[in-house]
């Protein structure tokens, strides 16, 4: 039987803290450099060292980037999970394993490739201090042999992965060569079911980037000058990337003077407060967190909504409730984030679905926060934020910052004192503001989270309260056409599908599968809340619309049910995935087929 070319999923089962991450990245970058699309996913424990960790490397000629649950090649280096890992391999798959694991009698339908990692490490790796890490590089060599990855590409993978440590290249290349040599001597006469063949220009011009890094770069390009955060998985790498970019792009090389303040706060309350204090004072400010931090930020989010202070909040969602599964992905904060705060509160919520959108929406978030004088929440997730994604290179922004309705000294002069902080001059619900420090006697006003009239004076007047809340609702409605609009792919099917965020990648693949089975499905990818007017049009144009999301309660379905006209709500169906693993195409296609079988 001919081998399957450039289409497989590799699972590396290792122990966390053992340095397997570098080995996995080298493998990823080696395959990427062959011109073959890759989509890696880390499945890691909330732990520093010693617990099982997995690396799921999807290789797909068609460029699918969603997780795939079946594994064609297992790299087994963890005795704790050996039996479990072996069960995840497809029949006919290949298993590269530590030779001390007993393979006989376990499964008859897979091919075993035992490797004496311990002995090879001891005898072939000279460095005592690096032996543990470098032993993992040995499996890269073995796998390269089995799949036909040219040695040059492995070298490229090492150089790319360890770009800042060229001194480490030779020892890593040697370790990979040990594995490659072991394959040559022992397995080169045993072809497996899959093979990789270079594709000229296949990945040319593409970058590999994680969503948090992309969002951090978006913050730089979007003019963020104050960032406050508290460490929490999976958002920490966003502010850590931002710190790296700040060192590189926002620091005067001669004086060391910095054009950004990045503060590691004492908790998420303070992180939100610092960002809001800075936003109030006129800076473009942000904070980044995940579920437990978002819970704490509810208090400040309500203040910023009601007092109308711009701020950008990144929520890199993880699996709740409570501490939940801190290192697993989720879209479970959607409903909470949208209404974050007590009382009647509504926010603008951006829903990036790709790494490129993490970059672009980060920039837009600052414009929207300034334009609408309100918090903008950017909801990414662990899968999007912490895994590497292929992307076209990002565009350099051409547009200037939109700082919104800010009155200058000249404006105040012209108005002769006749301005009111919360007056709706333009009928869009968006008032004018001044920044503290504006040198004009009429510039000052008193911001408060308590009841206020249009001149920002304290009031408990029922009329003033209601008028203000109605204006805030008007402002929020107006944002429906200003936030990133939905992306629609329609082919005239009676069936529609709505998804957002990282679910997109599973939907792309599921639609192809469904179309191949004679069930084409139109698709609307929602990219922000409040929902754009096109969403109602899309639902109206389809008999049944499946809302696919990564949470238990169908939170987007709930929001759509509330905001769409009642006659359209009956058309909505729900598909939910919430086990903490990134959603796979099968988790979209299978339930949809099952539900359609009932319908037709």
């Amino acid at each position: 039987m001919d081998p399957i070319v450039n289409d497989l999923t590799i699972l590396a089962a290792t122990v966390n803290g053992s340095g397997s991450q570098s080995a996995n990245l080298v493998l990823t970058r080696a395959i990427f450099s062959m011109g073959i699309p890759v989509a890696p996913k880390n499945v890691f424990p909330s732990n520093i060292e010693g617990l099982p960790t997995w690396y799921d490397l999807r290789v797909s000629a068609r460029g699918y980037q969603a997780r795939r649950a079946q594994h064609d090649l297992l790299i087994a280096r963890n005795p704790q999970t050996w039996t479990h890992d072996l069960a995840a391999v497809v029949a006919g798959g290949a298993v590269v394993h530590d030779d001390v694991f007993l393979a006989s009698g376990v499964r008859e339908d897979v091919e075993y490739f035992p490797v004496p990692f311990g002995r090879l490490g001891k005898t072939r790796i000279a460095s005592d201090s690096l032996r543990k890490q470098l032993t993992n590089m040995i499996y890269v060599g073995v796998v390269a042999g089995l799949l036909g990855i040219p040695f040059d590409n492995l070298v490229t993978g090492i150089e790319r992965t360890l770009a800042t440590k060229p001194k480490a290249w030779p020892v890593n290349i040697d370790a990979v060569r040990v594995g490659y040599g072991y394959w040559e001597e022992n397995f080169s006469d045993r072809p497996i079911s899959h093979v990789l063949r270079p594709v000229v220009g296949g990945t040319d011009g593409l970058i590999l980037v994680d969503g948090n890094q992309a969002a951090a770069l978006g913050c730089v390009m979007g003019g963020c000058t104050v960032a406050a955060w508290y460490p929490i998985t999976p958002s920490s790498s966003l502010c850590e990337s931002l710190t790296g970019y700040a060192d590189r792009f926002r620091t005067d090389p001669e004086t060391g003077e910095r054009r950004i303040a990045i503060v590691q706060a004492e908790d998420e309350l303070a992180a939100a407060g610092m960002a809001i204090g800075a936003g109030w004072a006129g800076a473009r400010a942000m904070t980044a967190t995940s579920g437990p931090g978002i819970s704490l930020m509810a208090e400040f989010a309500g203040l910023a909504y009601y007092a109308e202070v711009p701020v950008v909040v990144f929520d890199i969602q993880r699996l709740g409730p409570s501490t939940g599964l801190p290192t697993r992905t989720s879209q479970g904060d959607l409903g909470f984030a949208y209404r974050l705060g007590h009382g009647d509160t509504r926010h603008l919520v951006l829903l990036p679905g790709t790494a490129e959108e993490c970059y672009e929406f980060a920039q837009r978030a600052f414009d929207l926060a300034d334009r609408f004088q309100t918090p903008v929440l950017v909801l990414s997730d662990l899968d999007l934020g912490m895994n590497l994604w292929m992307s076209r290179p990002f565009d350099y922004p051409e547009a200037p910052f939109d700082r919104g309705k800010v009155l200058t000294v000249d404006d105040l002069e012209r108005l002769e004192g006749d301005w009111a902080r919360y007056r709706d001059v333009d009928g869009d619900g968006i008032p004018y503001r001044t920044w503290p420090g504006t040198p004009h006697p009429n510039a000052g006003y008193f911001t408060r989270g308590s009841g206020h009239d249009d001149r920002a004076r304290y009031t408990e007047s029922p009329e003033a309260y209601q008028a203000n809340m109605d204006r805030l609702a008007r402002k929020h409605r107006g944002a429906r056409t200003a936030v990133p609009g939905p992306v629609t792919v329609s082919g005239g099917s009676a069936l529609g599908l709505i998804a957002f965020g990282s679910t997109h990648h599973a939907v792309v693949e599921a639609r192809d599968e469904l179309a191949a089975r004679g069930l084409p499905v139109d698709y609307l990818r929602l990219r922000a809340l409040p929902i754009a007017p096109e969403v109602a049009d899309f639902v109206a144009a389809h008999e049944r619309v499946y809302v696919v999301e990564q949470n238990r309660d169908g939170q987007l379905l709930e929001i759509l049910s509330e905001e769409l006209p009642a006659e359209l709500v009956a058309r909505l169906r729900s598909i939910r995935h919430y086990d903490g693993q990134p959603i796979a195409a099968a988790a979209v296609a299978a339930p949809l087929l099952a539900l359609e079988a009932v319908c037709v």
Binding site: W280, W435, P436, Y445, T447
Partner: protein, 341 residues
């Protein structure tokens, strides 16, 4: 017609006033407001440069009662330090003045209060300390005296938190205590606090005439008058005034503040060196065991770097920086994209 008195930047005292107070008549907080007005007027702080921030409670209402022209932010209970930190980072030219109460600083916001001082954020941090929750009708606060008796008879069994002791323990660079009714001491302290670069903490005992002005409370007028022990007689000389001091050897200590101002301390009852943190801690503890309230400048460190300086922030307000200052050049961006390929 007599010419209207003006300060060094040509403003009348009127320019430092705010809206009418809605606090109880006789509230110590109103006296503090008046002392703040005098201090800011004397210093000639430009009203537009002042950023007044506060938490929640009676004390936090007071920024509305001074310097109407300035921007104010009455934020969340116990969270003013975070707002003040952010505002100061956005614009280093602002004169940041925070007003809080004992509920804000010793209970719900104790963490933020400590971290503000730990970072030495450049601001004046006032605690209008009355030992009680006034707005919610008189519950004990965490600064309430142990064994003090509530209006309705309840007794507080728990040790008070002393904001000044907390401040000293986390390395605050300016720690002082005063009494709302003692303008002679308080106004120079307020001026020095504003002139100080870094977090200047002022715990101001301020009797609550409605809920905590009874016998046995160390925050009643009568108690403070009888038991206040000032450690210095203070005067403050702004940098723009010629220094003229009646100097008596061995009895006067001058503290030079970063902007060139001078705080002059005349020995009163204790020969306290306010640059000696350990001595300040000892004095606080001794006065506590004697049942006395120590007032005055307990500690000052004029050499510590404030937060923005330590973070090497640009002098120009960050909020004024534009695209050219904040976006890397096209070539730099393109090179970054190549690295990601």
């Amino acid at each position: 017609m007599s010419a209207l008195a003006v300060n060094r930047i040509g403003l009348a005292r009127e320019a430092y006033k705010g809206g009418p107070s809605t606090l109880c008549a006789g509230c110590g907080h109103n006296s503090i407001t008046n002392h703040i007005i005098k201090a800011l007027y004397d210093l000639g702080v430009e009203p537009h440069r002042l950023a007044k921030l506060s938490g929640i409670g009676c004390s936090s209402k007071t920024p509305a009662y001074f310097v109407e022209q300035a921007h104010g932010f009455n934020g969340l209970h116990g969270r003013m330090p975070a707002l003040a930190t952010g505002a100061g980072l956005a614009n280093r030219e602002l004169v940041v003045l925070g007003v809080s109460g004992d509920g804000d600083s010793a209970s719900i916001g104790l963490g933020q209060f400590m971290h503000l001082m730990r970072r030495n954020v450049d601001c004046t941090y006032i605690i209008e300390d009355n030992g009680t929750y006034g707005l919610t009708k008189g519950q004990f606060s965490a600064t309430a005296d142990v064994d003090s008796v509530h209006k309705k008879g309840a007794v507080n069994h728990y040790q008070p938190i002393d904001p000044c002791a907390v401040a000293l323990s986390v390395g605050s660079t300016f720690v002082a205590r005063s009494f709302s009714g003692d303008g002679k001491q308080l106004v120079p302290l307020l001026k020095a606090a504003v002139a100080h670069r870094g977090t200047a903490v002022l715990d101001i005992i301020s009797p609550c005439v409605t809920f905590n002005d009874h016998d046995g409370s160390t925050r009643s007028y009568s108690w403070v008058k009888d038991n206040d022990e000032g450690i210095h007689d203070l005067s403050f000389i702004p940098y723009f005034e010629e220094i003229r001091v009646e100097y008596e050897a061995g009895e006067v200590k001058e503290v030079d503040l970063y902007d060139g101002s001078t705080l002059v301390l005349r020995k009163l009852s204790e020969d306290h060196d306010p640059t000696d943190r350990l001595a300040a801690m000892r004095l606080l503890e001794e006065s506590r065991t004697r049942g006395q309230l120590l007032t005055g400048l307990l500690y000052v460190d004029e050499h510590a770097e404030d937060f923005a300086t330590r973070e090497r922030l640009a002098e120009q307000p960050l909020r004024d920086l534009g695209e050219a200052d904040l976006r890397p050049a096209r070539e730099q961006f393109a090179s970054l994209m190549r690295e990601l390929m």
